[in-house]
């Protein structure tokens, strides 16, 4: 809420060389031995009618970290993201093969309830999409349908906490009845984040959350992501290399439906193993 939360604390300035300056981020987090894997995708294949959108993707998402998915448009990173909360179910022609497990349990299993899954795996979209209802109603909707609040006071509590965590409370607390659509783009996106965390999910998927925002609003969202990481596992799709470098601990590079390279962000950006990843990061392709 206070500007301090959005000023870069230890975020390294973006450098083309990707040589990370000594950062305050605890690097030890990245070692597989100490990090539990929240989501694991194995041999994931996705087809849209006859288009093979994802090919044999094996990727795990570490918990309480930010995983960035990078790659050129149409490379399958959004498709991968949407597999994680089964938003692809909405597309009639979409077919998913392979295995995606959340805490070791297959989310495509027959007994997996989609509503339950989506309550655990929240999502923020590219274009801010608040409901054309009041700010309060936007945030209160999730807790209400899931019956998370016993009383109106409890609901108020959830709404205010969520807005506070999303760094929006100070800006909107006097106008909770104003339609969410009346806010600025950046505020709308933070409202959508508040709406997602109001359900208290374990994972938040973000599909290019800053692509429609100006740099100031982007900085706010990035600061927010860094704070949210302590409580949530975050997967973010981004077209901005700088953003991926700034906010993520793990990076996965997709190309033409295939996972080209994945690993600790620092390592991927400083010494990519794959030449395609190197070219993409350096801006030679993509």
């Amino acid at each position: 809420m206070t500007p301090t939360s959005i000023t870069p604390k230890a975020r390294p300035a973006f450098k083309p060389s990707f040589a990370f300056s000594s950062s305050a981020e605890p690097l030890a987090d990245f070692s597989p031995a100490t990090t539990s894997q929240k989501i694991r995708a194995e041999q994931l294949n996705v087809f849209y009618a006859k288009t093979h959108a994802l090919k044999n993707v094996d990727l795990s998402i570490p918990s309480n970290q930010v995983t960035a998915l990078i790659g050129p448009s149409g490379c399958g990173k959004s498709t991968f993201l949407r597999c994680l909360n089964r938003m692809n179910d909405l597309i009639d022609v979409c077919r998913v093969e392979g295995n995606v497990s959340l805490d070791g349990k297959d989310i495509y299993a027959a007994d997996q309830d989609v509503v339950m899954l989506r309550a655990r795996v929240g999502m923020v979209f590219q274009k801010p999409n608040p409901f054309p209802k009041s700010i309060y109603e936007n945030v209160a909707y999730g807790p209400r349908i899931h019956g998370l609040a016993e009383s109106n006071d409890e609901l108020d509590e959830i709404v205010f906490t969520s807005l506070e965590r999303a760094g929006l409370l100070a800006e909107v607390k006097d106008r909770m009845k104003v339609p969410g659509t009346a806010l600025s783009g950046g505020q709308q996106q933070r409202l959508c984040i508040a709406r997602a965390i109001a359900v208290d999910p374990e994972i938040i998927l973000m599909d290019e959350p800053c692509s429609a925002l100006d740099p100031i609003a982007t900085a706010k969202i990035e600061g927010l992501i860094e704070e949210l990481r302590t409580q949530y596992t975050i997967v973010i799709v981004t077209h901005s290399m700088q953003q991926a470098a700034r906010v993520s601990q793990k990076t996965a590079h997709f190309h033409m439906g295939e996972l080209v390279e994945s690993g600790a962000t620092e390592q991927v950006f400083s010494s990519p193993e794959n030449h395609m990843t190197r070219d993409y990061i350096l801006g030679r392709i993509g």
Partner: protein
């Protein structure tokens, strides 16, 4: 550089042509709108100029002596016995007393004809409203006959030949005498608005048709809106897109184009013959109209749902709303203005529909205002149809007036559509 000038020259050459075609298109558009407006203006002017006369009715004031010997022979002064009195005799005697010089039977018969046959009932109502008038003489306004009415309103020329005028010279003299005493007046035509059908134009009213229409439309909406909206929601939001749903969609579009009389026949053979629902009733009429309106509501409802941005559905689903919750909490409310518009356009069409109602017997001669959904009734367009068939001149203006009422009704519904859409519209 010279190349560039050449390009510009080419563009310039084309510019004139483009501008010409633009102004040509604009003038064609304005012309076609003007023609449309012209015809609407002609329609309204002709209907209004004919119909407004029917909103007044010529009344004649006569001094009625409520003769206790005729009306209450046994002197009981009770409502039941007074209601059974011979008011025809009282009416005739009043007229004879007003024009004492009329003696021959032929002339008397002519004299009685200047009043409507309903006059005696108006006199009876006056007596029943206040029993103390029995035995006294009081002035009462009664309805003039339709021929007198037409003459007073100037629809028929006073100087026209008696056969055309349908009033003899003697009758004209009597009316002139009454006029000179200020006893002939055009008053607001309450009978037209509150009365049922009648063979006498001066006693005919649109109440049965109006109530029948209102009840039918309510029934129509009660059936068509829930079924139509649910069908639209299912087809748009839940049904898989396959060959069967495509076939269904084509058939719904076809249904919207089916001649309305076919729906009437369906109502006749299924609702009346199989389910044996009451003939001529607004219930059956409304159901038939609902069948007719249903495709319109489904089609407009689907396009309204389709227009709701998918991002709203994604937003709700991503929070963990079920599909039903997504539709009913977010998508349908946003589609509501469109659904409402479709509903009202559909029912405005149903409002003016005649053919299907003919088939289920709403074309009857009904005098009593329907007091239930199963009571026989008729509808406004049918009343127009029935009256337009009548030879009496006075029915002509009543037909126009009924059309006017129907048009006003339609306009009100369309206004309601605009109002509701404004009210439910969401700004993004």
């Amino acid at each position: 550089m010279s190349n560039k000038t050449a390009t510009y020259d080419k563009i310039k050459q084309g510019l004139k042509k483009r501008r010409r075609s633009e102004s040509r298109f604009r003038s064609i558009g304005i012309a076609s709108i003007s023609v449309g407006l012209l015809f609407i203006a002609i329609l309204f002017i002709s209907v209004t100029s004919k119909g407004y006369n029917a909103f007044t009715q010529t009344m004649i004031q006569i001094d009625v002596f409520f003769d206790p010997d005729v009306l209450d022979p046994n002197g009981s002064n009770k409502l039941e016995s007074i209601a059974r009195g011979d008011y025809r005799a009282v009416t005739r005697r009043t007229l004879s007393n007003t024009f004492k010089d009329v003696s021959s039977r032929r002339d008397k018969r002519q004299l009685y004809k200047i009043l409507s046959s309903g006059a005696q009932f108006q006199i009876r109502d006056t007596a029943l409203k206040n029993l103390s008038v029995i035995g006294t003489t009081i002035p009462v306004w009664v309805t003039a006959s339709d021929d007198v009415d037409m003459m007073i309103k100037g629809v028929v020329d006073r100087k026209a030949r008696p056969r055309v005028r349908r009033l003899s010279e003697k009758q004209m003299n009597w009316i002139r005498a009454l006029e000179s005493q200020g006893k002939v007046e055009r008053q607001f035509n309450t009978t037209f608005f509150f009365g049922g059908d009648s063979r006498e134009p001066e006693l005919a009213g649109i109440a049965v048709a109006l109530v029948g229409t209102i009840l039918s439309i309510l029934i129509c909406l009660a059936f068509a809106v829930p079924f139509g909206v649910m069908a639209a929601v299912y087809l748009e939001e839940f049904a898989p897109k396959n060959r069967w749903t495509t076939l269904l969609e084509i058939n719904i579009n076809n249904l919207a184009a089916v001649p309305s009389i076919v729906f009437g026949l369906l109502g006749l053979s299924v609702l009346l013959n199989v389910f044996e629902l009451p003939r001529s009733s607004p219930l059956v009429g409304g159901m038939v109209l609902a069948l007719m309106t249903l495709p319109t509501i489904i089609i407009t409802g689907r396009s309204a749902l389709m227009a709701v941005p998918p991002s709203i559905r994604e937003a709700a689903l991503a929070i963990g709303a079920s599909r039903v919750q997504t539709v009913f909490h977010h998508v349908l409310p946003l589609a509501m203005p469109g659904v409402l518009t479709g509903t009202i356009i559909g029912s405005a069409r149903a409002l003016g529909e005649t053919a299907p109602l003919l088939m289920i017997g709403m074309v009857a001669f009904i005098v009593d205002i329907p007091n239930s959904l199963t009571a026989p009734a008729t509808a406004l367009p049918i009343q127009v149809f029935l009256w337009a068939d009548q030879p009496e001149r006075a029915f002509g203006e009543r037909t126009a007036a009924a059309i006017l009422v129907l048009l006003i009704f339609t306009c009100l519904m369309n206004l309601a559509a605009v109002f509701l859409r404004r009210k439910f519209e969401t700004r993004w």
